[in-house]
């Protein structure tokens, strides 16, 4: 069976999945704080759209609820909260240093290939047409991890963390047509609470080291070397 034999709906799901991967790349390369948050919001929209299309394709009703949760929380509320926090901290227009963007992007490409080769043996046990996207969802997780370790600012690291959660959700939707609703509600609530707590932490970090550059947390002494 070739790609062309798939119904247009499933082709659309796979295209959106590829776009989600591209949004993970965009997050990795984006250095402005406000633009990073916007890309994160776009990723949330893409995930919600994928979930709705998978729900249409499989007829699973609870996927509509998780799509609504994704749209409300990850595409609208959390980005809004982060933008508000960044404005209060006066870092909305700041730049975060991306360490060697060219090499990071190439490394990200290598990670996608790695994920593909890792997932291949698993794919045959998954049902449904979305199984090809499992590699992409794992890649989104790995790219978010890469973003976590290449960033200096606490806000962008939180965005990376949330994007990692996006990747997990993406994997659940593509591999098993979503987690049980109870689990999903629990995770959504966790993410919400985490976002609020991170917000409080930003203020604490800034009060103690007068900056949100987490590299400065490495220094223990108060004297400059």
């Amino acid at each position: 069976m070739s790609y062309l034999d798939l119904p247009l709906l499933e082709q659309a799901i796979l295209t959106l999945a590829a776009l989600t991967l591209a949004s993970a790349f965009a997050l990795l390369a984006q250095s402005r704080v406000v633009a990073t948050i916007h890309v994160f919001a776009v990723q949330g929209f893409l995930l919600a759209a994928i979930t709705v299309l998978v729900a249409l394709d499989t007829g699973e009703l609870h996927l509509y609820i998780s799509a609504a949760l994704t749209l409300g929380l990850k595409a609208l509320f959390i980005p809004w909260l982060l933008v508000r926090l960044a404005r209060q901290l006066h870092i909305l227009r700041d730049w975060d240093t991306v360490i060697r963007p060219g090499i990071t992007l190439l490394g990200a490409g290598a990670l996608v290939i790695f994920c593909y080769s890792v997932v291949q043996p698993i794919e045959q046990y998954a049902a449904g047409t979305t199984r090809d996207a499992i590699a992409l969802s794992l890649a989104v997780v790995m790219l978010s991890l890469l973003m976590l370790v290449t960033r200096r600012k606490a806000v962008t690291q939180v965005v990376a963390f949330m994007a990692l959660e996006n990747g997990m959700f993406f994997a659940a939707v593509t591999a098993t047509q979503g987690m049980p609703l109870v689990v999903e509600l629990g995770i959504a609530f966790d993410v919400l609470v985490a976002a609020v707590i991170f917000g409080v932490f930003f203020f604490h970090i800034r009060e103690s080291i007068e900056s949100l550059d987490v590299d400065q947390l490495n220094r223990l002494s108060e004297h400059e070397e």
Binding site: L14, A22, F25, G102, A108, V112, D132, A133
Partner: protein, 321 residues
């Protein structure tokens, strides 16, 4: 009969190339006009690019004392490779006799040859601007070429050929499908095209009074006929990229049979597609500011990554079934 047909096809090839070369200044002028409308300026007439070329052709050539023969040969090589590339790519019809030459990798090679001589010409006279322009052009080229080749490879995986004519026929025969790989290839090709043809945000084609200029810096020493050839080559290159985008990704309308009706329909469809692309380019150039030279590397890294994601999504999503 077959002999007549092939003779007719060769006439068409010559005609197609002539149309291509004749339309290139018009397309550049069209982009300029739309930009003028968007910026509340009075646009130049449609014939202005032709008048500029005619004026340059009649002007006397002034050569620097330090200029070597390379400086005098370069305009012919640069313009010649551009015309050759224009002859090779399918403009109005597929399956022409030259389509054997219409290989995407050959096209990249032709561009590279033209660019090499352009950079040599920039260096030849020994002015500071020329050298700077050449070094910048080479930096852009070395980053844009891998991205361009990735786009070519994505297409060759989808259509199982690097021949542009075969690729277009394949797309025409294919039933409608949403392909993520081609979506990314399109985005990457647009970025590469902007960088290669020296448009904003990579280079500003409208001025030679800027320290950050690339293309204008290399041709600053040219006058008369030589300058006319260089200008025509730049206009041709812009048109080539526009036709590539239009005919590869939206091939519908191109003539598959060599009849008058089909060719007229193809010409109408192509005009509409190019008019739209030119307008989109003008809107983009008005909305975006020129970026620092050192940010161009990131711009092209994004193009390369997009092309890479396109190829990977073909392997992961489309080929594995």
């Amino acid at each position: 009969m077959a002999r007549d047909l092939s003779a007719f096809a060769w006439v068409l090839v010559v005609l197609q190339t002539a149309v291509f070369v004749a339309a290139a200044p018009l397309f550049a002028g069209w982009v300029k006009r739309i930009k003028c409308y968007l910026q509340n300026r009075r646009p130049p007439p449609y014939l202005q690019p032709y008048r500029d070329l005619r004026k340059l052709l009649t002007k006397e050539i002034v050569l620097a004392r330090t200029a070597s023969p390379v400086f005098r040969i370069a305009p012919y090589v640069v313009c010649g490779t551009a015309v050759l590339a224009a002859a090779a790519i399918p403009l109005l019809a597929v399956e022409l006799p030259v389509s054997a030459m219409a290989d995407a990798i050959v096209l990249v090679g032709l561009f590279a040859l033209g660019r090499f001589f352009l950079a040599l010409a920039g260096l030849d006279v020994g002015t500071a601007f020329g050298g700077m322009g050449s070094s910048r052009e080479m930096m852009v080229a070395s980053l844009a070429e891998p991205a361009m080749l990735m786009v070519v490879f994505t297409w060759s995986m989808v259509a199982a050929s690097t021949n542009l004519s075969t690729v277009i026929s394949h797309t025409l025969e294919m039933e409608l499908a949403i392909r993520p790989s081609l979506l990314f290839a399109l985005l990457a090709l647009l970025l590469v095209g902007i960088a290669e043809t020296g448009r904003i945000p990579v280079d500003n084609p409208a001025t030679h009074l800027e320290l950050t200029m690339i293309h204008e810096a290399m041709i600053l020493e040219y006058t008369g006929r030589h300058l006319a050839l260089m200008e025509l080559a730049a206009q041709l290159k812009l048109m080539i990229y526009a036709v590539l985008v239009a005919n590869l990704f939206v091939p519908w309308g191109i003539a598959t049979t060599l009849t008058g009706g089909a060719l007229a329909a193809a010409a109408a469809a192509l005009t509409a597609k190019l008019a739209f692309l030119g307008a989109a380019l003008a809107v983009g150039e008005t909305a975006v500011a020129k970026m620092r030279v050192f940010r161009v590397a990131t711009f092209l890294a994004v193009a390369f990554t997009l092309a890479l994601v396109g190829m990977l999504s073909f392997v992961i999503l489309e080929a594995s079934r």
